[in-house]
């Protein structure tokens, strides 16, 4: 039946109507993500709690930005709103000029834990977005295999998640988010659960993948060095209410190796962020 439909180009036509990102990508400027006065309130027994207060920022295409801040500063809430999983209270977030009102196919999300489905093989996990969109798997198997070899998981396609180490599982999660070449890749402390050594390795890997693919990345972390190492720009956030208190441009040359971490410029950046926290007594308590 699908073959018949394809013969008449109906599926292709339908897909062209369903995914509006393709034509918009061409006419939009280099600004990919724009967030205007975004606020989020939660109502609780003691009244309304302000998780995010009038957040505004924009990200250009292919830029890597990091959000750094202590817990409770609304980082994860921000990510959920950007992923379309949570509605905002006021303001809006736009991707390619279109407000984000729900989950979208052109957004990739990597969560803190890999969240792989244990009954699916690595390849099937990577193909999950394809299955959700009810598209033909066969067309995307090649892309999935290429992506898996990009993240260094060649030969693991038919393994199950539980056979992989924590770092490898997170690589699978990144691969899954990269399927469909998302216009925006959201990462919520993706390496927070890994040990320090693996984490450094994964930072290098992520930089390599990003340099190759040039997706727009919004990376959330509570590690200042990690943010400085990875990002072009770092947004410093403070809690109660969650807000951006400072934006810092990182001008270290790419690709950054682990030796970049010992350079004085690197630590100058780290120190300037840390002083922001100290000056505003953000992490005092």
């Amino acid at each position: 039946m699908t073959h018949l439909k394809d013969l008449f180009g109906i599926t292709r036509l339908a897909r062209a109507f369903r995914t509006p990102e393709a034509p918009i990508r061409e006419r939009a400027s280099s600004l990919t993500v724009s967030v205007n006065e975004l606020s989020k309130h939660y109502s609780s027994r003691e009244g309304s709690i302000c998780a995010l207060q009038q957040i505004s920022f924009s990200v250009s295409q292919g830029e890597f930005v990091a959000f750094v801040g202590p817990s409770g500063c609304g980082k994860s809430t921000l990510l959920k709103i950007l992923a379309g999983l949570l509605p905002s209270s006021q303001g809006e977030a736009c991707l390619w000029g279109i407000p984000i009102t729900g989950p979208r196919h052109d957004i990739g999300v990597v969560f803190q834990s890999p969240v792989l489905l244990p009954w699916r093989t690595v390849l099937e996990n990577v193909l999950l977005p394809i299955d959700v969109q009810r598209q033909n798997r066969d067309r995307y198997v090649k892309e999935a295999r290429e992506l898996l070899s990009l993240v260094g998981l060649e030969g693991f396609e038919n393994r199950y998640p539980w056979e992989l180490s924590g770092g490898m599982q997170q690589r699978v999660a990144i691969t899954r988010a990269l399927m469909h070449d998302p216009a925006m890749l959201l990462m919520d402390e993706p390496f927070g659960a890994l040990d320090a050594m693996t984490r450094e390795q994964m930072n290098l890997e992520l930089q390599r993948i990003w340099l190759e693919r040039k997706n727009t990345v919004l990376f959330i972390t509570h590690s200042i060095p990690e943010a400085v190492f990875l990002a072009d720009r770092v947004f410093v956030m403070a809690p109660r209410p969650g807000r951006i208190i400072e934006t810092l441009k990182v001008n270290l040359p790419r690709p950054r190796g682990l030796d970049a971490m010992s350079s004085p410029e690197f630590w100058a950046n780290v120190d300037s962020i840390r002083s922001q926290f100290n000056a505003k007594a953000v992490v005092g308590a």
């Binding site: 959920k80 992923a83 379309g84 999983l85 729900g102 989950p103 979208r104 196919h105 957004i107 999300v109 969560f111 834990s113 969240v115 489905l117 244990p118 009954w119 999950l128 977005p129 299955d131 959700v132 969109q133 199950y160 539980w162």
Partner: protein, 263 residues
């Protein structure tokens, strides 16, 4: 652990136990109507199979157990799904389910026989009734226990409610459902036998009942032996299916490893 030596040892142990039993019962002159000697049970077993009575009744009981199991497990899964998915169904139905759960289901067997007669139907219905509850309860728990992160992930990919159900909730509930199915198989056999006790035209339970009237204790023991082997085989079948379906479940893997250690 399944080496030839161990199998030989197991057989030897069985023979030694039977022989000891035989000697004790004969030595103390225990009357047959209290406790028959293993040899008498073996003779009863032989006689039953040679006359074809056991095969016929075994088949009958097997049929009603399997039909009752399928019907009960299927019904339990469907109702469980409805309760887990729909708030209204849950609100109005769940209290009755909880209430009904505390009733010993076998106590309904006399009613079932009155409603459905002495034929196969009554036994199947009773088996299904008893078997449905573990599946029903476990399906509800399983479908509701989907991990928040996983739901967020699938939703972030743009999945519809339907897709979240089939791609996430159902596979996620399978370990629970299979645990319920495991119990349901044994329950179905119990339900079938109890229905036969109340009144039936054929089946191993009916056979036990009539042997009891005739004080054929050795015969009863031989039927009990068949029943225990039947129960064991049915249980094994479920375990095989479970191992295939839940190859990915960590608790299943643990169980397999444990079995390797203990057997």
């Amino acid at each position: 652990m399944h080496s030839r030596r161990n199998i030989a040892l197991a057989v030897l142990l069985f023979c030694a136990t039977a022989l000891t039993g035989e000697l004790i019962i004969r030595g103390f002159k225990v009357p047959t109507y209290i406790f028959p000697a293993p040899s008498q049970v073996a003779i009863a077993l032989w006689r039953g199979f040679a006359s074809g009575v056991y095969q016929k009744n075994l088949l009958h009981t097997l049929l009603e157990t399997l039909l009752g199991f399928l019907l009960g497990a299927g019904l339990g899964f469907l109702v469980g799904t409805a309760v887990a998915l729909n708030r209204y169904v849950e609100h109005f139905l769940y209290p009755y389910i909880v209430m009904f759960q505390s009733v010993p289901k076998v106590a309904l067997a006399p009613l079932v026989v009155v409603w459905f007669g002495l034929g196969l139907k009554a036994q199947v219905v009773n088996a299904a009734l008893v078997a449905s509850f573990p599946v029903l309860v476990n399906t509800i728990v399983g479908l509701k226990s989907a991990d928040e992160d996983r739901i967020n992930l699938v939703r972030s990919l743009g999945a519809s409610k339907n897709q979240v159900f089939w791609m996430l909730r159902v596979p996620n509930a399978l370990p629970f459902v299979m645990a319920g199915v495991d119990v349901a198989m044994v329950f179905a056999l119990i339900g079938a036998i109890v229905a036969e006790f109340v009144g039936a035209e054929a089946g191993l339970g009916m056979l036990i009942q009539s042997m009891n009237f005739n004080m054929d204790i050795a015969g009863q023991f031989s039927v009990l032996l068949i029943l225990s082997i039947l129960g064991l085989l049915l249980n094994r079948c479920i375990h095989l299916i479970r191992r295939r379906v839940l190859f990915w479940d960590p608790s299943e893997k643990e169980r397999l490893e444990r079995q390797e250690v203990t057997i």
